[in-house]
Symmetry: C2
Subunit: 270 residues, 2 copies
């Protein structure tokens, strides 16, 4: 198939978290048509094994290919870290953009003391994806990493602030940032985590730079499309949202991520 | 197939939570051989739609039938509330025991002021399974119910006590039990929740009776097997544990539920 600039960009996530990337892409590239697929029937990916994550991600990519996408953004750290090379091979000429390299580069750029704390799901942290990407870009940078398993259900529950949420953030991160020698940068290695920034800010203090991959990934997508001469001139159709389960819950939770603008959600089977 | 007393009992849950039921059955019926299947590749069920839960539950039941079980215990409230009638039809002569009726009966038995608070996953509460069961058994009893979505990941993360956990319990349940007219009984409508009893106790106070379905379900299973003349005389094989993903995580988390006694975990595909 020949790719054309008027085709949509596909975005994939295990659930609603990737909507933070969707929003960044929509804001940066308002003329693009976007198709989002959230595999809510099998969320969360973050506690699953690599083989399972690769299998689910390929299934989702196939569904998006059926929508004739011109590029695929894996708006999920866990899926990027487990499946990016496999996906690139599978999708052939369709550009595939992950969230990890853009996020790692943005964090390295802003860190002055060359100490970065990376937080993500269990699978992302276990795969050491960010640790490896940062070591490649800036070998002198020290990285401390931590799996924050409860942050995904916490964000999906909509508990974005308040005492319980702050206590959870404190329990995961308090010790890392208590030190005088602490990292000056916190890299959010999961697309759900930007929702928790106000609560995280209370734990890490005002001076720590909080980096999320969403904007960096949108910029990377623009560069990739520009290089391939695939940037759209005008929106060819309304954005679409697909979910593998429970569209009502997707719409309800998704609104938190898109700040109130969520159109109709369509149910599909993978 | 003819059922025989020496065959194993199957137990099914979406993850590790059903191990609280496993433990109750093992303690009550030490001569039985048990086969446990946790569908960890697709946990949690509690936020999924009914159709999806029924589909997954039937797939798991089929895997357990291949193990020649003589009875099936659905050690999962969400699966019981969504799929019990379908499962009974599907498994024909194999007795199927759910967790909801035994739990509802136990709560009605201990409540003196005829006010019961039921907590569970979003799917269990939405299906009103406990509410209906209690109304059938004791039409005069008042029921207040609440979905406590974060309790499953909280228990699976092993955060069973401490400030963060207590704040979460407080946020979900504080208002229900603040009232002078509050329920005198808290029914744990999810097999994960018994792990959180110490934290829950701090919120509900010393006088409230906390009822979990595990023991009531084990008693119901014994009665069903006795009635069918299927109680085992001696253990015919070691207990087995199957999981659909990430056996290491299953073993690690499962130990919390079984208090340190978890044998080898086998990976299967559904």
């Amino acid at each position: 198939m020949t790719l054309s600039a008027s085709l949509p960009i596909g975005l994939f996530d295990s659930g609603v978290g990737g909507l933070t990337v969707f929003k960044a892409v929509r804001d940066l590239l308002p003329r693009e048509t976007l198709v989002y697929l959230g595999d809510t029937a099998r969320v969360p990916y973050g506690v699953k094994s690599k083989d399972t994550i690769v299998k689910y991600t390929l299934g989702a990519a196939e569904k998006l290919r059926e929508q004739n996408i011109k590029a695929l953004i894996i708006a999920c750290n866990t899926a990027t870290s487990a499946a990016l090379p496999t996906l690139r091979e599978y999708l052939g000429s369709i550009p595939v953009i992950g969230v990890i390299d853009p996020g790692a580069e943005a964090a390295v750029r802003v860190s002055e003391n060359k100490k970065i704390a990376v937080i993500g799901t269990e699978a992302t942290i276990r795969a050491k994806a960010y640790q490896k990407a940062i070591a490649r870009i800036s070998p002198g940078t020290r990285v401390v990493s931590r799996a924050c398993t409860l942050f995904v259900p916490l964000a999906e529950e909509g508990w974005l602030s308040g005492e319980a949420t702050e206590k959870i953030c404190e329990k995961y991160l308090g010790d890392i940032f208590a030190d005088a020698d602490a990292p000056d940068t916190l890299l959010l290695g999961c697309t759900h985590f930007p929702l928790l920034i106000p609560a995280l800010r209370k734990v890490v203090g005002e001076k720590v730079k909080i980096v999320d991959s969403a904007k960096a990934t949108a910029l990377r997508a623009r560069d990739a499309l520009e290089a391939a001469n695939l940037l759209a001139w005008e929106k060819s159709a309304p954005d679409r949202f697909f979910t593998t389960d429970n569209p009502e819950r997707f719409a309800r939770t998704g609104k938190l991520f898109l700040e109130g603008k969520l159109d109709e959600v369509e149910l599909i089977d993978i």
